[in-house]
Every structure is written in C-alpha cells, then in structure tokens.
Amino acid sequence: MTDMLKNLCKKMFGRSLWVYHANSGGCNGCDIEVLNVLTPYYDAERFGIKLVGSPRHADVMLCQGPAMRSTAKALKRAYEAMPAPKLVFAIGSCACGGGLWHDSYPVIGPVEKILPVNYYIPGCPPRPEAIIYGVAVALGLVDKKTAPVQIKQMEYPIPLYHPDDLHTKDEMIVYEKIEKL
C-alpha cells in the first residue's frame, strides 16, 4: 500500500514542478525571457509549473548567469536547501559555459563548476519557445534534437603526385620523375 503511494508520488513529480529562479550574476536578459515564459502568451502554468519564493518549496532551480566569485557560496547554499528529488537547469550561454565573459576577473566559470547541472538550454538569450522546449525535453514529452557532429573532408582536392609519374616495381609504387625529351 505504501509502495503504491510512493510510486504515485514519483509519477506526479513530472506533472507539477515548482520552480525557483536564481540569477548569480547575469545581465538579466535570460531573466526577462524566463518571465516571458510565465505570461499568457507562452503559458508555463499549463504544465503545472509555478514560481515559488523559497528554495525549500522548489523542485527545479533555474540558474542564469555565470558563477561569480561573490555569489558562488550563496548559490551552493540555495542548492543544498532544496529537498531531494531536485533538478537544475542552466539557462543561457553564460550558465552553460561561462558566456562571453568567461575569462573575466570575477567569473569562476559555468554554473556546473559549483552545482551538478541536469539540463542545458543554450542561447543568448534563449527564445521562450526554446526554454519551453527544454522543459519539455526534461519532462520527456519530446526528444532532443542535437547530437555531436564530426565531418571529415574525404576528397583530397588536388592529387599529390601526377598519375603519369607513378609506376609499379616489385609490389611497390614508385614515384619517378621521367624527363621528357
């Protein structure tokens, strides 16, 4: 009986996510896009997402801005105050990889140097549709569309040796420049 209740509670986790918003030093561009997601046009409440004011009530922490020297401790404390099970989303290129300010003096780096991040939503700032797409990937509603790409230029455009100057001699291909008389 208690197992059934526990399974039910685990299944309900995806249907009502309570979100806590933590900006640790960003430019507020991604803040505005997150606020856009909560407006009627791109409604986030239809997925059951609610914005709460205290990390103890929240399931998901939305991190924006790179991890700065001054706010690193506060960010870590807010993460530890959240009750398990919890998720961390890094929104924007500053939180995913340090952003354009990655080698500046107060910036430690991306948020993953301080907290373990579960989902990345890159963009500068990401469109509200991109943020909703990231939430849908986290909830398992859609599949992710990115994969690493590796391309090799297989055709060598200019041959290294002219085919007339190559001839075979005892299983070896020898290059010998023949003087034209």
Partner: protein
C-alpha cells in the same frame, strides 16, 4: 433530535471525507477560472491533487530554530480545520451538534489562524517574523467581524446552539432585518481576507513578495499547510452560506444538498473574480479598511441589541 453515537460518528466521517476530497477541486477551479480571466490556458482542474501528491513524495528537511514546534504547527493546522469541518453544517445539520456550540466555533477559527503564527515563529528568520507580525495585525482586526456576526445571530435567536444560530439567524428578528443586512454587506466586503486570497493575503501566502511564515517548510509538512488553506476556503464558504444565505435548506435530501453546493461554488467563483482582478493591499491600507468595517459592524451590534 438527539443523535446516537453511531450516527454522530458516521456524520463526522462523511463531513471530513467530503471536505478532504472536495477542497483541492475547489482550489483547482479557482486557478482555472483565474487563468481564463487572464486569457490563458491554465493548469488542469486536478492540478492541486498532483501538487499535494508530489509534495508528499519529497524529502522532509527539518530546519529552523525549533524543529519540535515546526512539526507541531504543521499537524495542528490540518487538525484544527478538520475539527471545524465537524462543526459546520454542509447541507445537513452539523455532526457534532450537541457537543459544541458557537463559542467553540469562534475559538477554533482563531486557533487555525494561530497555527501560521507558530509556523513562522519556529522558522526564526527575519522574513518570517515580519510575515507573522503582519498576519497578527490582520487577525486582530478581522476575527471580531465574524464574532460580531455570530453574536448578532445569537442575540436574535437567544441561544448558542449550532443548528439555531447557523441557520440564517441574523435575519431572525421581528421587524425589518437591519442588522442582518448590514452584516451581510460587511461580510461580503471582508470575505477575501478570511479565506486569505488576493487583496488581503498579506501575511501568509505572500511568496511573491517575501517568503513569509512558511519559508522553512518542505515536503509533507508543506502539504499539510497547503491542504489546510484549501479546506479553509470551503469551511468559510459553508459558514457564510449557512448564516447569510440559508434559503432552500429546508428541502428534502438530494435537492437541499445540491443547492448548498451550488451556493458554495458560486461563492468560490465570486472569490476568484475578485482575486483575479485586484492587486494586493499594503498592510496599512488593509488595517484602515478593516477598522472602518469594524466600526460599521459594531454599530450593527448595537442595533441588534436594541432589537432592530
């Protein structure tokens, strides 16, 4: 008529189960209608059930100054409102009719407000202390309004029994019911504050402005508090309907019950409409508003004393 013990127990169980099952549905209806007024697609109507189940599955972190008081405040909040559910008539007469009277009702209503204060005290941080001081100010200004309504009913019917007072007794004097109509207007104007919705949810649910008294709660104890506030909406609506709009409660079994729930849902929709279109008041504006309402209510009490 006197109830036997079995009948009392069955009625108590029926009332408590009804209240527990219907309260999240009314909250869901409130959120959906708010969303429709704001031109968006809101959460599904069963969303508060999902919220409560999810909160039950989270980790329970005990923190703050005194964990014992934290646990005590959480259990007390839901226990108080469920005890209130036994004393409130919901289409039938109240289950524990002979065991309690109207004074007990007033005390239990005040106690359910005190649970939030205990919760904020157990957290001990500055934000929660400010939240509970504002909640205390509002409670001091607000509880007398309900008490005056009940006392006017008691004066008119000359008894403190639950089934006589909670049966439209404010209108029960001999001539034109002046005090009853004045109290109806006062209660309609201050109803939002009793159920802690938007223009007046200053102390408790103020998670947008500060974290408030519920700051240190997580998981199952937070579920208890949220459940208690959902149930309070139903209890106050049922009390309002029983005292001020009792017409049709004399009908036979299915029709009377149905009419009661239709009236309660209508009141919840009215609360939603006001909550979706208003902004939150500051504490000094709210206290000034309640002070003027209290003056009007006391004049209604004086009129009732003279028989009007």
């Amino acid at each position: 008529m006197e109830q036997t013990l079995i009948q009392t127990i069955l009625a108590v169980i029926a009332n408590v189960c009804t209240v527990l099952l219907v309260a999240p549905f009314c909250q869901g209806l409130l959120r959906k209608v708010t969303a429709v007024i704001q031109s968006r697609q809101g959460p599904p109507i069963w969303q508060p059930y999902y919220d409560l189940l999810k909160l039950l599955g989270k980790d329970d972190i005990e923190s703050g100054d005194s964990p014992v008081m934290q646990r005590f405040a959480a259990y007390l909040s839901l226990a108080t409102v469920l005890t209130l559910a036994c004393l409130v008539p919901m289409g039938f007469s109240a289950p524990m009719n002979g065991q309690g009277d109207v004074i007990l009702l007033i005390y239990l209503l005040t106690l359910s407000g005190i649970c939030t204060l205990l919760a904020g005290l157990s957290a001990g941080s500055t934000y929660s202390l400010v939240g509970i001081s504002r909640q205390m100010m509002i409670m001091i200004a607000l509880e007398p309004l309900f008490a005056v309504a009940i006392i006017i009913g008691a004066i008119h019917t000359r008894s403190f029994r639950l089934d006589t007072v909670l049966n439209g007794s404010v209108y029960a004097n001999d001539g034109f019911p002046w005090s009853g109509l004045i109290m109806l207007c006062v209660m309609l104007l201050s109803f939002q504050a009793f159920v802690e919705r938007v223009p007046f949810d200053i102390g408790e649910a103020e998670t947008e402005i500060m974290e408030g008294p519920l700051m240190e709660y997580s998981g199952p104890k937070l579920a208890l508090f949220k459940y208690a506030s959902m149930v309070k909406l139903i209890i106050y609506s049922a009390l309002f309907v029983a005292m001020f709009a009792p017409w049709g409660s004399g009908f036979t079994f299915p029709l009377g019950l149905l009419l009661f729930w239709v009236k309660v849902i209508g009141l919840v929709l009215l609360v939603t409409l006001v909550a979706a279109t208003h902004a939150r008041y500051r504490i000094d504006q709210a206290i000034r508003y309640f002070a003027s309402l209290l003056l009007v209510a006391l004049s209604a009490l004086v009129l009732a004393g003279y028989g009007f």
